[in-house]
């Protein structure tokens, strides 16, 4: 049930425009309709969408259609640029108080991920800012919320200040601040209970905590999957407690995350961090451009590249390049490649991040056959060193032996050898092409991994 990205949505309209010299008002209107749909499907608040569309239309009308771009692409570019601008602005990570301790308050709805984010934030503060944080368990309402924070504290070896559930949160915070002073903690993170923004009593409690602790930062923790209601939530919290920054959680899901734009444009407050996983180090800085691509369904190319960079050994890449060029690419290298790809995570995830991958015929429902990868590995592992370097020597007898040794069939072995041959041929062409500057290539040998 993948939602169509903006680019796909615009296809139809674009065809009508191609060949025209300028984008007319009517064309823009039609395209903006699609932009509107795309943004609403991404959960951007309707009011925000309307305002946004207005700005973009003004920019798009009358623009010359550049030769290098199709008009549609140009509109997409304008939309994306505007989105990026809207979500961008100053990238100030965390404001620290000149007079320690710096107090950080975590607020938000139930289930947004405040406690988990508190743990992650403690990790960031200690690792990147060299701070000594104290975590304060001020959620006395949800069963076992205190235990949750204490467990995280133990895992991270960060002290947690808790007084049980019978003391009022304001009193807990008061005593925690004294404790922080005594123990020389330079940062205090207050984990407050999740509450509905319409619960006046509990919102008053937040106000009281704020007045008492004078926090440098008040982080509103928001679930990236939030729908149209995100504006109401952000507005209420900002009006009552005065939010200084946003943390967007669960962004490792497959939501478009339009809430980011809604909140940003309603509160004007920067999105400081995004939660990208369940592990305690999965809190990352916010990248407006990537978020813009994501909201528009354009694939997250940057994240993909980074993921690849993180996992690919530079040295090995250089080595491989040399082997490609000198045509001394062996089955061992092939195996290496496979393992590198596997290290980047499940292939399906990677595919999803690639722009347009969802559109390729037959690929939209492709299940990556990780089992097939396992078989290929087994086959190569069952070969001798010599066989891996010069596969030509693999005759019928050897094939039989390899199949037996790897628990596969002779057909599997044949298929792999054929693939490897194809790949070599392809590499030959590619190296030839590079000089001509042509760019029509295909990942060879990887087709068979799709069912």
């Amino acid at each position: 049930m993948a939602f169509e990205g903006l680019a796909q949505r615009l296809q139809g309209t674009i065809q009508k425009i191609t060949g025209k010299g300028k984008i007319s008002e009517a064309d823009v209107k039609e395209m903006m309709r699609e932009v509107r749909f795309a943004l609403i499907e991404a959960d951007v608040n309707l009011k925000v969408v309307k305002e946004f569309v207005k700005t973009v239309s003004e920019r798009a009308i009358g623009q010359d259609v550049m030769k290098s771009l199709t008009p549609g692409q140009q509109v997409v570019k304008i939309v994306k640029d505007e989105l990026t601008n809207l979500m961008g602005g100053e990238q100030n990570p965390i404001q620290f108080s000149r007079k320690p301790p710096t107090v950080i308050m975590m607020v938000g709805l139930q289930g947004a991920g405040k406690t988990t984010t508190t743990g992650k934030l403690a990790t960031v503060l200690r690792k990147r800012h060299n701070k000594n944080p104290l975590l304060v368990a001020a959620d006395v309402y949800r069963p076992a919320a205190i235990q949750q924070l204490e467990t995280l504290g133990k895992q991270l070896t960060v002290p947690v200040f808790a007084l049980g559930t019978d003391v009022s949160p304001v009193e807990i915070v008061r005593q925690a601040l004294e404790e922080a002073e005594k123990e020389h903690h330079d940062v205090v993170i207050i984990d407050t209970a999740g509450r509905l923004h319409v619960d006046e009593e509990l919102m008053q409690e937040l106000k009281d905590i704020r007045e008492l602790s004078k926090p440098e930062e008040v982080f509103l923790v928001v679930d990236a999957m939030t729908g149209q209601d995100a504006v109401n939530v952000a507005q209420s919290f900002d009006e009552t407690v005065g939010v200084t920054g946003i943390v967007l959680t669960k962004l490792d899901g497959d939501t478009r995350g339009g809430a980011a734009l809604s909140i940003r444009s309603v509160t004007g407050k920067p999105i400081k961090f995004v939660g990208m996983g369940e592990k305690m180090d999965a809190l990352e800085p916010f990248h407006p451009e990537r978020m813009a691509s994501r909201i528009l369904g354009m694939g997250d190319v940057m994240s993909l590249i980074e993921k690849a960079q993180e996992n690919v050994d530079e040295e090995k890449v250089k080595e491989l390049e040399l082997k490609f060029r000198t045509q001394s690419f062996t089955l061992d290298d092939f195996l290496d490649q496979l393992q590198q790809v596997k290290k980047m995570g499940p292939l399906e995830e990677l595919l999803k991040m690639m722009p347009g991958a969802g559109k390729i015929k037959g690929l939209e429902n492709a299940k990556v056959d990780e089992g097939q990868m396992g078989r290929v590995e087994a086959v190569i592992h069952s070969m001798t060193k010599q066989e891996r370097i010069t596969p030509d020597i693999i005759n019928a007898n050897r094939r039989k032996r390899i199949a037996k040794g790897s628990g596969t069939s002779i057909q599997d072995v044949n298929r792999l050898l054929k693939q490897f041959e194809d790949m070599k041929k392809m590499v030959k062409q590619m190296t030839g092409m590079q000089q001509k500057g042509k760019k029509k290539m295909k990942m060879p040998g990887f087709d068979s991994f799709f069912k």
């Binding site: 049930m1 939602f3 749909f37 609403i40 499907e41 991404a42 959960d43 608040n45 309707l46 709805l109 139930q110 289930g111 947004a112 991920g113 406690t115 988990t116 309402y141 949800r142 069963p143 076992a144 919320a145 205190i146 235990q147 949750q148 924070l149 204490e150 467990t151 995280l152 895992q155 509905l196 923004h197 319409v198 679930d223 999957m225 939030t226 729908g227 149209q228 209601d229 995100a230 109401n232 939530v233 669960k250 490792d252 899901g253 497959d254 939501t255 478009r256 339009g258 809430a259 369940e278 499940p346 399906e348 995830e349 999803k352």
Partner: protein, 333 residues
């Protein structure tokens, strides 16, 4: 008699306190949504294209989702033509009638839990992180116990810190036993243990908690499939209910969630939580019409008894109660 009045009569005949709870829980939602509908009706005298456009926006802001809104608007236009409705007075009842119709999709739905007459009934709760699975289990346990069933809970969220303790607290509140292992143990093993214990102690209903997981995490969804498999191996026909817990504040991603969890665990019903905020939970309509999964319960507050069976008529009544009162006043005049 207008549809809303019929609806009101039907409901007031049944259970006053439950209806009140719905009204109360949904008051924030309703105030926002219906006051806007009223406003809309007041501003437009005639039912014209512009009226529909505004209505469309109203529904979109309730997270109903694009396709469902289009469908509804098309049907409304037809209805307006057929009945030759010219002015906006009275359009509210047509709107709510259509909403209920879309939800029901022409069939009478059984919203009751599939509880076995004799033998063990297993209920499995699934969903993404932070939607309120554990809290829902606590409320559900209290509810079933009040109905005279013996209940046992299985602490299947062995991943999140403090999740087991949270369930134990809810177990104490409801006075039911919780089968647990240590944090980090295999959830499938917990289920196996729990089913054994439930069989030995001859309890009626075993409710199984699972760790929250985002639906695009392949490995975690596989783990859930395994949990499902273990349960179905140990008890014939189990799990008898797989309830997907959805946060009412969630936007269009809820559809993807419903689809993916349905594929992995054959979801039989939805629990829509946190409906007591300003979120409108309109995605329920989309899920029902696209995936045919009924909503079985809604969470309307933090108290133990704030889990109520979902009734589309009451739900729509809750959304339109203000509109109804106004309509009545108008006819009185």
């Amino acid at each position: 008699m207008s549809f809303l009045k019929k609806l009101k009569e039907k409901i007031t005949g049944t259970n006053e306190s439950v209806t009140e709870k719905f009204k109360e829980g949904l008051s924030k939602t309703r105030n926002q949504f219906t006051s806007r509908v009223n406003d809309l009706v007041a501003r437009f005298r005639e039912v014209d294209e512009e009226f529909f456009e505004e209505l469309e926006e109203l529904l979109l802001q309730a997270d109903v989702g694009f396709e469902t809104v289009m469908e509804l608007i098309d049907q409304l236009k037809l209805e307006v033509q057929r009945k030759n409705i010219k002015d906006t007075a009275g359009i509210q009842s047509v709107i709510s009638e259509k909403l209920v119709e879309i939800y029901k999709a022409g069939e009478e739905l059984d919203n009751n839990l599939n509880i076995q007459e004799d033998g063990l009934t297993v209920v499995l709760l699934v969903g993404v992180n932070g939607v309120g699975k554990t809290t829902t289990i606590g409320k559900l346990a209290a509810r079933l116990t009040a109905e005279g069933k013996t209940v046992m809970l299985a602490a299947g969220d062995t991943f999140r810190a403090g999740a087991i303790d949270q369930l134990v607290v809810w177990g104490e509140r409801a006075g039911v036993e919780v089968i647990r292992q240590s944090e980090g143990s295999d959830p499938a093993a917990v289920m196996y243990d729990a089913i054994r214990a439930a069989k030995n102690r001859k309890v009626d209903v075993l409710i199984c908690d699972t760790a929250g997981r985002l639906q695009n995490k392949v490995n975690l969804m596989k783990e859930l499939e395994k949990v499902h498999r273990v349960i179905s191996k140990e008890v014939e026909g189990a799990p008898h209910e797989v309830l997907l817990t959805l946060d009412a504040t969630t936007g269009q991603n809820a559809l993807v969630q419903a689809q993916t969890f349905k594929d992995a665990t054959n979801v039989t019903g939805i629990v829509l939580t946190k409906l007591d905020g300003t979120a409108k939970g309109g995605i329920v309509l989309a899920i029902r019409s696209k995936l045919n999964i009924p909503v079985k319960f809604v969470g309307l507050g933090e108290g133990v008894d704030d889990l109520q069976p979902f009734d589309p008529e009451k739900y729509v009544y809750g959304l339109f109660a203000d509109g109804l009162e106004q309509e009545e006043n108008d006819t009185d005049k």
